[in-house]
Each structure stands twice: as C-alpha cells, then as structure tokens.
C-alpha cells in the first residue's frame, strides 16, 4: 500500500523538522531595531614646532570636529612666550586670539578652553622680551 501522508513511523522525523523550523524562525527578527548612531568624535593630538623671531609670531590652524575642550601644552621653549588660541584670519593668515597666556615650557597644559566645532588656530608670539629667535614645541589636543 502506498502511503501518501506521514505515518506514526515518521513522527520523530516531523518533530525534528518542526524543531528546525522553530530554531530558524527564532533567528529571525530583532534586526529592525535601529542602532543609535555612534559618536564620530575622536580626540586628536597634534604636535607642532617652530621658531619665533623678536617681535614676531607664528601660528597654525586646526579643525575641531565637535564641541569639547581644546588644550595647548607648550612642551619646549627657549624663553617665556605668548601662547594663544583663536580663530584664523579670514584672509592674510594669522590668528585672531580669544584666549592667551604668558607661558613657559612644561608638561601640563597652559591653555584649556571649551570650544564649539570649527576652525581654530594656535599662536605663539614674542612678549617683547626676545633678543634672538627662539624655538618652541607644543601639543594641541582637541575633539
């Protein structure tokens, strides 16, 4: 006799298949949960060195990608120098300072200031005390 359905003999097989279906279906779903966009801000550290002439200044621009804290550490300098952070001039180069200090070289930040995202610059300048050019090195940390 030809059987056309599952018999008692096949019930174990059918249960196994149903179990497989349940397992497979349980693996579905849950993928529609939206993921929160991960923050794209990463801390950046830039090193810069240069020379300041008597009566002169030297500046460098950098980009802050998100709001956070800018810290400037004058790590080496041949003399006490002016150190500031501000906005790059729209034309002609240079820096329009918003924060400045008189700084000697050290390992701790001489400037730490909150800032919005945008273009900034750091400037090192003679305080009127230099008789010869002096070298300097500094580190800029920002978001």
């Amino acid at each position: 006799m030809k059987r056309t359905g599952f018999g008692i003999r096949d019930s174990g097989f059918v249960r196994s298949l149903l179990l497989m279906v349940v397992v497979l279906l349980s693996a579905c779903g849950g993928d529609n949960t939206p993921t929160t966009p991960s923050g794209t801000s990463t801390a950046t550290s830039e090193n810069w060195s240069g020379i300041v002439a008597p009566g002169g200044q030297s500046s460098r621009s950098f980009t802050v990608n998100s709001s956070g804290t800018i810290t400037i550490t004058l790590t080496a300098a041949g003399s006490t120098l002016g150190l500031g952070v501000g906005l790059p001039r729209v034309s002609g180069g240079g820096c329009r300072l918003g924060v400045s200090v008189n700084a000697s070289a050290g390992s701790s930040p001489q400037i730490s200031t909150a800032a919005d995202a945008g273009q900034y610059c750091v400037q090192v300048y003679d305080l009127g005390t230099l008789r010869d050019p002096v070298g300097f090195a500094l580190k800029i940390d920002h978001p």
């Binding site: 599952f6 096949d10 298949l17 497989m20 279906v21 497979l24 279906l25 693996a27 579905c28 993928d31 939206p34 993921t35 966009p37 200044q57 709001s67 800018i70 002016g82 500031g84 952070v85 501000g86 906005l87 001039r89 729209v90 329009r96 300072l97 918003g98 924060v99 400045s100 200031t113 909150a114 800032a115 919005d116 945008g118 900034y120 400037q123 300048y125 003679d126």
Partner: protein
Amino acid sequence: MRFAVLLLSLVPLCAGCGDDTPTSPSSTTASRATERFDDILNVHESKFFAFSVGSNGTTSINLASLSPISRPGVIVATLEIGWGKTVKDDAGAVIGCDLAKVMQTPPALTAQINDTLTPASDYCANVADVDSVTGLHEPANFSIRITHP
C-alpha cells in the same frame, strides 16, 4: 520526495533571515552655515552684520576674539552682543539693527547666544562697547561667528 518538499519549504524561511546589514542613519540635520563678522571696534562704538536664516533651527552667535590692533595677545573686556532685525531707509539700504536680544560677555570659543529664529533674510548681529568700566579702553579687533540654518 518528502525530504525534498520539506527542505524546499525551509529555503524561504532561511532566506528571510540574515539581513544584518546596518542601515546608515538618515540625516535629519539641516545644513548650517557659519559666517564671520570681523572688524575693528572703537571705544563706545557699535557695529552690526546682516545675515539670513534659511530654515527653522538654532542660530548661534559667538564673540570669539577680542585683540589689540597693534600687538599680539587678547584684550580682556566685556562687550554687548545681540541679534535683531535690520532697519532700512526709504531706498532700501540697511542703516541699522533693531535689537531683539542682547547680552554682555567676554570673548569665548563657545557660542554665547543660541536662539531659535524663524527663516528670514533681514536679521542682524550687533556688537557694542557699552560699559566704561569693563568695556574697551582702546580700539580692538573683534571676531564674531554666526552659525545658522
């Protein structure tokens, strides 16, 4: 035959799984523009800058820099900054800034004013030296950032 039928029925079930490709977050932030208002402010003087707001959103005004004219460094002083609507003469030329909001602040690298403005083409940002004690005692370069939708 039965195996084939059953296995075939599993194929579409499996095909429905496994779509793990993350979707990129859709952008819901309107584009923003940053304008610079750089000039020189003399003692007891005020100046304004006209700007447009293209869509609803937060407009930020930031007095970011105040520095001496002829030497490096910064000037420690408090100025009044604000925003308003431009005033025009009969010929349509902008002749003033009718202020809606003002505050006194020293320079900083974060916005001092954050307000929601409706789209319009006749806004203005203003800066003024108003306090004889905490304000300017010499002419100063100033830089203001205006960020708006």
